[in-house]
Each structure stands twice: as structure tokens, then as C-alpha cells.
């Protein structure tokens, strides 16, 4: 069913810079090729070029793209349009943003057949229901009459796959289709995608930054770096014996090493104690209970120099916990004790000294740094505010901080817009360190970063902990990350703490079933992991029949 894809000498330029440089590869019918690389390496640009499309400002300057016998780039605009959605189809990263919220799912799924006039509406709908069934969607007969906001993110992603496959395309392009999903949802979606791709023998190009995911899906892997091909080889070959240095680097980053903690947890003083903490949003009723309770009865102890990971799916209340500790949200019940003193519930009531000792680092470095302030001013402010530094000592301290987070001193005069994601996250950390805090609340600090960059930031954080003795409350949805940095893991679901696992017990059971589910759902960097998971799938589904609804 799939057609062979051949790409020869593809080059894409934007102004004077070359985004994709002389790329050549081919995919046999029914095979899956993965494009992998860090952000900005030209993965998506290449994938879009396979449909003859270049984003505004970009231009396909040279090369040939052949799908079957069709030379895509030689076609005029109208013929390219008739090709898209029919011969080539595209599954985007964020399905939530790709669906029109005001039309039913069925209307949108059959749209490619309507636009290209492939078949009658009734036929198309029957085919769509068949696809829903193949993609293991719940209630395949009726899900089409729902609206996009009435299904979960993972289901939407699969519905988008149905939309892409309904025209029986020769080539399917999957652009980071599971990146925005929780691990437990991701595994469902991956499983559905792989089965459909295998059964239909479609040719597919899978764009991702996650080697472990790609290992489950792809026959061949193409490693891209700065628009150039670093390595193209069979998946087994890449995983077991990478040739290129950059591929080795990617592989190393995907297998997170445990970072030494430096200090043992038991012998140091109690720093933070959270007791029976509950909080929520919305109006408060007569009994002091808010309308929507997010956190319920959380207990937590953190010793000086310790790092505790908080893990859970989106909506489990992880971030709310950090906000309550930071004083951004007033708890409705319970107490937070910091270094022997009870912390007041709101920011206004806390003293500057208390505020200084707890700093928060946010997930999105883009929104955490004021775009109109230079790095110098961003770092100088906490120093001036807490310590009243000025003149030469201020300058020295800023340079020390930049050295500490391994940034060149020249960035001080730049604005955040001129820094890369990893650099911004380092500035973000440096700002928190400027206050010389005892506790840093890290909210998904590496989630928005590429694997290699994230690994470097994690290394830095572990190093800072060893040298400065700061403690972390490390919030993440990624079990790998948490395991590599933290001494203990707190597992949260629906606003409750389910269990707490110490480092020594990470790999020893038995644990809470939800922790085990999370641990199992993290893709492993080997082929056949997903096949192994399929055997366990039935038991997992039986243990959590309601999970899909909450996801």
C-alpha cells in the first residue's frame, strides 16, 4: 500500500541561513524512517518539505522529493494541494490545536475525502469508524459525534491519525505525535500508531526528539544536526553501535545516569515539613473548603541537602504543591514548616528573609524571564533586593553566578530573546541561586528542553547541590529525570500523595500499583520494549479501567 519515498539533495534556506543542507535518503514501501535531532535541527522543516511545503520565510532551494513516481517539488501549487491529505498526510504534534473546536470530530475526520472527492460521505464515515476501531478508540461508533473538547488529549491524537489515514495515503508524516502526552497516555497512542502503520503497511516518516520512542516505531533512524545528516542506519545498529559522535551523545543523554547526591539524607536537619496540606481554587464555603479541591492531605518531609521528586500526570496537583509551599496559593488546611518556623500562608505575610530562602524555578524559561530586561538586570535585581549589592561587588557576583551556571560572561548584556532554551533555563537557575536559597522549587525545569540540553542542566543541578548544599523539590512528569536527580520520589495522583519511594527502593518492589504503572510506561531504549509491554497491557488495563477517562 505504501509507496517508496526518495529524497535527493534536499536543501531549504531561510534568508541567508541554510536550515536543511543537502539531505538525501530513501524509505522502502511499508517502512518507518525516524528523523531525530534537537530542536532547530531541521526535523519538521524536512518533514514539511516532503509535502512540498515550506513555512513562510523558508524556501526549498534545491533537491528532489519523489513519492512513488510523483516528483512532489516539480508540481504546481494546485497539484501539490491535491497531493496533500491524499498521497501524503501529516499528523501534527498538538492535536488539541489542530482540531476545529466548533465542528464535530466526524466532520473533520472525513474532511480529506470530501475535499479530494474520494468517496461518498456514508462510505467515508463507515471507513472512519473502522479506523477508530483499529486505533483502539473507545466507543468507535459514536465518538465521531462528539466535539474535540469532549475527548482526551491522547484520544485526539489518535483521531488525528484517523484523519490522516482515511485517504489511504502512500506516505504518512508523524511530527512528534506523542511529545505533548503523559507517559501512560503516550504508550496507548504509540501502540495504536504502530499497529495501524504495520497493518496498513504504510510508508511513514516519524519525527521525534525521543530516541526511546523512536526505537519502538522505526526501522531506520536518521540523525539530524544543524540541518545536516549525522548518521542514517538501521535502528538496531544505531542503538547498539552508533558511529557518529553526536549520535553517541544523544544515546548517552537518553540513558540518564544517576547523579550522586553528595549528602546523605538522614543525618542532616529537617528543612521543610508539609503537614496535612490541602488547597484548592474557587469560592470558599462555610466550612472553609474551596469549591475545587486540588490538593488533599499532603505530608512531606525534606531534609537539608536532600532532593525530593514529585511525580504524577498532568492535573495531579504537582505544581499546586509547589505554589502552596512558595506562598502563591493559600492552603485551606494544614501547615508548612520551614527550618523550624511555621511559614505564613501568603506571600504578603512572609518576611523578605523567608522569601529569600525559598526560590522557585519555572518550566518555561521563555515566560520566566522578562523579555525586556537584559540578563544583567535579571540577575542584578535579587542581589540588589536582598543584599543591597551595587558597583563592583555586584558585578563580581553576577560574573560568579554566570560562571556557576556555565554561561559566558558576554551574555550579561543580551536580552533573553537572544539566548537558546538551555541558556535561558541556566539564567533562570542563576536568578534563583542569586538569592542563595536553602530550597529551590523546580517546576518541570527540563521538560521544555532537548534531551542533550536537559541532561546538561540536570548535571548542573546535581553539581550545584553538591557544592552549595541547596535542597530541591523537583516536580516532573518524567520518571527518568526524577530518578536520576532525586533521593526520594513522591507519587501523586488526583491531588493525593499515593506513596513515597526512597532511592534505594527504586528498583525493588513491591510499590504502589500506580508507581509501577508509571515506571513501566517510560519507554526503554531498546527495540521490542513495546512488544513486551503489549503482553502486560491487558493486566494494566484491568487494573485501571477508568484511567482513559481521566487522561
Amino acid at each position: 500500500m505504501g509507496a517508496p519515498l526518495t529524497v535527493q539533495g534536499l536543501s531549504i534556506v531561510a534568508g541567508n541561513s541554510t536550515l536543511v543542507d543537502n539531505l538525501s535518503f530513501s524509505v522502502q514501501p511499508g517502512e518507518v524512517l525516524a528523523l531525530i535531532g534537537e530542536s532547530g535541527s531541521g526535523k519538521t522543516t524536512t518533514a514539511l518539505a516532503l509535502m512540498g511545503y515550506a513555512r513562510s520565510g523558508c524556501r526549498i532551494s534545491a533537491g528532489r522529493v519523489k513519492i512513488g513516481e510523483t516528483d512532489v517539488l516539480a508540481l504546481d501549487a494546485a497539484r501539490q494541494r491535491s497531493l496533500r491529505g491524499r498521497t501524503v498526510s501529516y499528523i501534527a504534534q498538538s492535536a488539541a490545536a489542530s482540531f476545529n473546536p466548533s465542528r464535530t470530530i466526524m466532520d473533520q475526520v472525513v474532511e480529506p475525502t470530501v475535499i479530494h472527492g474520494l468517496c461518498k460521505r456514508a462510505e467515508a464515515e463507515a471507513k472512519a469508524v473502522q479506523l477508530f476501531r483499529e486505533l483502539a478508540l473507545p466507543d468507535p461508533d459514536n465518538i465521531g459525534s462528539r466535539y474535540p473538547h469532549q475527548v482526551s488529549g491522547g484520544q485526539l491524537q489518535r483521531l488525528m491519525a484517523a484523519m490522516a489515514l482515511i485517504g489511504d495515503p502512500d506516505l504518512v508524516i508523524l511530527d512528534e505525535p506523542t511529545t505533548a502526552l503523559d507517559v501512560t497516555t503516550q504508550i496507548e497512542v504509540l501502540r495504536a500508531f504502530r499497529r495501524v502503520v504495520r497493518e496498513r503497511r504504510a510508508t511513514a516518516v516519524y519525527v521525534s526528539h525521543d530516541l526511546a520512542v523512536v526505537a519502538q516505531m522505526a526501522d531506520h533512524i536518521l540523525v539530524l544536526r544543524n540541518g545536516k545528516m549525522s548518521e542514517l542506519n538501521a535502528t538496531e545498529q544505531i542503538l547498539s553501535a552508533p558511529v557518529d559522535d553526536y549520535t553517541k551523545c544523544l544515546l548517552a543523554a537518553a540513558r540518564p545516569a544517576v547523579r550522586a547526591s553528595g549528602q546523605a539524607s538522614g543525618d542532616s536537619a529537617l528543612l521543610l515539613e508539609v503537614k496535612e496540606l490541602s488547597c484548592g481554587y474557587g469560592p470558599v464555603d462555610a466550612k472553609g473548603q474551596p469549591a475545587k479541591l486540588i490538593l488533599q492531605d499532603i505530608n512531606l518531609k525534606l531534609y537539608r541537602g536532600q532532593a525530593i521528586g514529585v511525580i504524577g500526570e498532568s492535573g495531579s496537583g504537582k505544581t499546586t504543591l509547589a505554589r502552596a509551599v512558595a506562598g502563591l496559593l493559600k492552603p485551606c488546611h494544614g501547615s508548612v514548616t520551614f527550618d523550624g518556623h511555621a511559614l505564613k500562608p501568603t506571600l504578603q505575610q512572609r518576611s523578605p528573609e523567608e522569601l529569600r530562602r525559598i526560590q522557585i524555578v519555572f518550566q518555561m524559561a521563555d515566560t520566566a524571564l522578562n523579555p525586556s530586561q537584559t540578563i544583567w538586570r535579571i540577575l542584578a535585581r535579587p542581589l540588589q533586593f536582598y543584599k543591597g549589592l551595587r558597583g563592583e561587588p555586584l558585578k563580581q557576583r553576577i560574573y560568579e553566578l554566570l560562571d556557576l551556571v556555565k554561561l559566558p560572561r558576554t551574555v550579561a548584556d543580551r536580552l533573553p530573546g537572544g539566548l537558546s532554551g538551555g541558556q535561558k533555563q541556566r539564567v533562570n537557575l542563576a536568578r534563583a541561586l542569586a538569592a542563595e536559597p536553602d530550597l529551590i522549587l523546580c517546576d518541570e525545569v527540563t521538560s521544555a528542553l532537548d534531551t542533550v540540553v536537559a541532561a546538561a542542566v540536570l548535571d548542573l543541578m546535581a553539581e550545584l547541590r553538591r557544592e552549595l548544599g541547596v535542597s530541591y523539590l523537583f516536580i516532573s512528569h518524567d520518571l527518568h529525570t526524577v530518578r536520576s536527580v532525586c533521593d526520594e520520589i513522591v507519587v501523586m495522583q488526583h491531588g493525593r500523595k499515593l506513596s513515597q519511594v526512597a532511592r534505594a527502593d527504586y528498583d525493588r518492589g513491591p510499590h504502589h500499583p500506580y508507581y509501577q504503572l508509571l515506571a513501566r510506561s517510560v519507554p526503554e531504549l531498546r527495540r521490542g520494549w513495546l512488544d513486551d509491554m503489549d503482553h502486560a497491557a491487558k493486566t494494566a488495563a484491568a487494573a485501571h479501567p477508568t484511567r482513559e477517562i481521566h487522561a
Partner: protein, 300 residues
């Protein structure tokens, strides 16, 4: 950045180094405008000079001196023709520039300045201040602007400061709404939260964290508001509530000479062109303010 030189050398270098940089900076700043921005800047400068120096350059005031030569075409004696009373159009337009630019500019600055300040206060402080300010200014929106101007003029008489204040008050709610919606979005961003957890005061958050990030759109809004004020001023003059004859702003010049439109007389076209050129120039300058493109590139 780190220098191992002795302090005297450093201070000497510090004295010497900034000087050429300071001299080059205005030019570089001007180059940042780009061709269209520079065009707007030139037109704006021309009208500002006309408003400031014009009456002094023209030997006689035209307002009082009518001739029988009504709606005269462009000639050597009357460069821009004459109006419906036979007065020299050039002198009238130059004198009108003072009223139009003066009143419109100050009223706009007053409206946007007050609006932005209140909006920042509303966004950065608590729910109650926000609610009181928002509902209070909503009430102001409910009063028709012309009616409000009528009441103000009836109550306090018509004078230039009066007109500035009236136009200012009328356009505060619009500027406030605009600025508040922008500021509320900025206020929800992480860097403002970080500033709050640091223990920063409301004033710092208003001026340092929020204001620089809403300035771009608010300047665009200021340009638009300027146009509205010019139009309001013209319509007030039409009702006889604006600038009082024999003095005339550009809006009233257009209205007074509307009779010349059928003949294609310069006396109606020139003040209309003046209004158009001024408003377009203001918007060109604001749209091309240097620093915007640079900020997107991430350099200073």
C-alpha cells in the same frame, strides 16, 4: 569584561570611551527608524516646528484680517489661497497647527498616561482595586462623549486647557481597557510570579516587570487615540464648543471652508491634508520606533 589594569587607567578609559559612543548614538537611533519611520518623523517635525515657530515667522496674524477675495486660488500672494472670509490660508493652517497639535497631543498623552497608570495599578494590585477602577471607568464609558463634552463646556466654559482635560477624560476608559487587558496577561506570566515570590512591591512590578512589555501595543494605541482626539476636536468645533473663532484648529478650518469643496478650492483641501499628514506621520513614527525589531532579535 574583567580588566587587570590599574584603577586610574580604568577611570581614564571610562572618561574617554563613552564620549564617541554618545555622539554616535542619536544617529544610530535615527537609523533604527527605517525609511518610512524617518518620513513620518520628518513630517511630524515639520508640523511641530510650524506650531512652535510659525506665528513668529509669519509677519502678520491672518485671523483678524479678512479681504473681499473669498476662496481665492493658490497665488504668489496667498500661497495656499484664501478662506471664506478672504483670510490667508497659509497663516490659518500654521496657526491652527498650534491648536490641533497642542490640544490633541496633550489630550492623548493625558488619556493614555492616566489609562496606563490606572491599568497597571489594577493589574498588579488586588481584586478590589481592579473592580473599583474597572467599574468606575465603565460608568464613564456609558456617558456619550459629545454629551459629556457639552456638559463640561457648559459648566466651565470653553478654553484650550478645558478642551485638553475634556478630551483626556473621554479617552481614558479606552486606553485603560486596552492597557489592562494587556497588563493582566503579562501579570499572569512566570517572571511576574518570580518577582512576587521575591517580595517585590506593587510599584516595582507595575513599572519594571509589566510596563516595558505592554509599551509597544500601547504606543500603537496612542497613535490611534491621537486620531480620535483630532476628530473629536473637529466635531466639537463644529458644534461651536471647540476652539472659539476667530482662532481655528484644522478641524474647524475644514468645516468653515466646506463650501469650497464644490470648486475644488485649496482652502478645504489644505487643512484636510494637514490632518491626514499629521495622523499618518504619528502612526508611521510609532510603528517604526527603533528597538522593536531589535528586541525580537534579542539584542539591545
Amino acid at each position: 569584561m574583567e580588566t587587570s589594569t590599574s584603577p586610574t587607567v580604568v577611570s581614564a578609559a571610562a572618561l574617554l570611551a563613552p564620549a564617541p559612543q554618545e555622539r554616535r548614538r542619536p544617529l544610530r537611533w535615527l537609523a533604527g527608524f527605517g525609511p518610512t519611520g524617518l518620513l513620518g518623523l520628518a513630517v511630524l517635525l515639520f508640523w511641530l516646528l510650524a506650531a512652535l515657530l510659525g506665528p513668529w515667522l509669519l509677519s502678520h496674524s491672518a485671523a483678524g484680517t479678512g479681504t473681499s477675495n473669498v476662496f481665492a486660488p493658490i497665488s504668489a500672494k496667498h500661497w495656499l489661497g484664501t478662506d471664506y472670509l478672504g483670510r490667508d490660508m497659509l497663516a490659518l493652517v500654521v496657526e491652527g497647527a498650534r491648536y490641533t497639535i497642542g490640544v490633541a497631543l496633550f489630550a492623548t498623552l493625558l488619556a493614555s498616561g492616566t489609562g496606563i497608570t490606572l491599568a497597571l495599578l489594577a493589574a498588579a494590585s488586588g481584586r478590589w482595586i481592579d473592580a473599583v477602577l474597572s467599574r468606575g471607568l465603565d460608568t464613564l464609558t456609558a456617558i456619550p462623549s459629545k454629551m459629556f463634552a457639552l456638559i463640561m463646556v457648559a459648566g466651565f466654559g470653553s478654553s484650550v486647557p478645558m478642551l485638553v482635560v475634556t478630551a483626556g477624560i473621554i479617552y481614558v476608559p479606552g486606553a485603560y481597557r486596552m492597557a489592562r487587558s494587556l497588563a493582566v496577561n503579562i501579570n499572569a506570566l512566570d517572571y511576574v510570579t518570580v518577582a512576587r515570590t521575591r517580595g517585590e512591591g506593587t510599584l516595582y512590578i507595575m513599572l519594571r516587570e509589566i510596563l516595558p512589555n505592554i509599551l509597544g501595543p500601547m504606543l500603537a494605541d496612542l497613535g490611534l487615540r491621537f486620531v480620535y482626539v483630532v476628530l473629536l476636536l473637529a466635531s466639537l468645533s463644529f458644534l461651536g464648543l471647540g476652539i472659539q473663532p476667530p482662532a481655528a484648529d484644522w478641524g474647524s478650518l475644514v468645516r468653515e471652508n466646506i463650501g469650497a469643496l464644490a470648486m475644488g478650492g485649496a482652502s478645504v483641501i489644505v487643512p484636510a491634508l494637514a490632518i491626514a499628514s499629521l495622523t499618518i506621520a504619528v502612526n508611521l513614527v510609532i510603528d517604526n520606533l527603533p528597538g522593536r525589531a531589535a528586541r525580537e532579535r534579542g539584542v539591545r
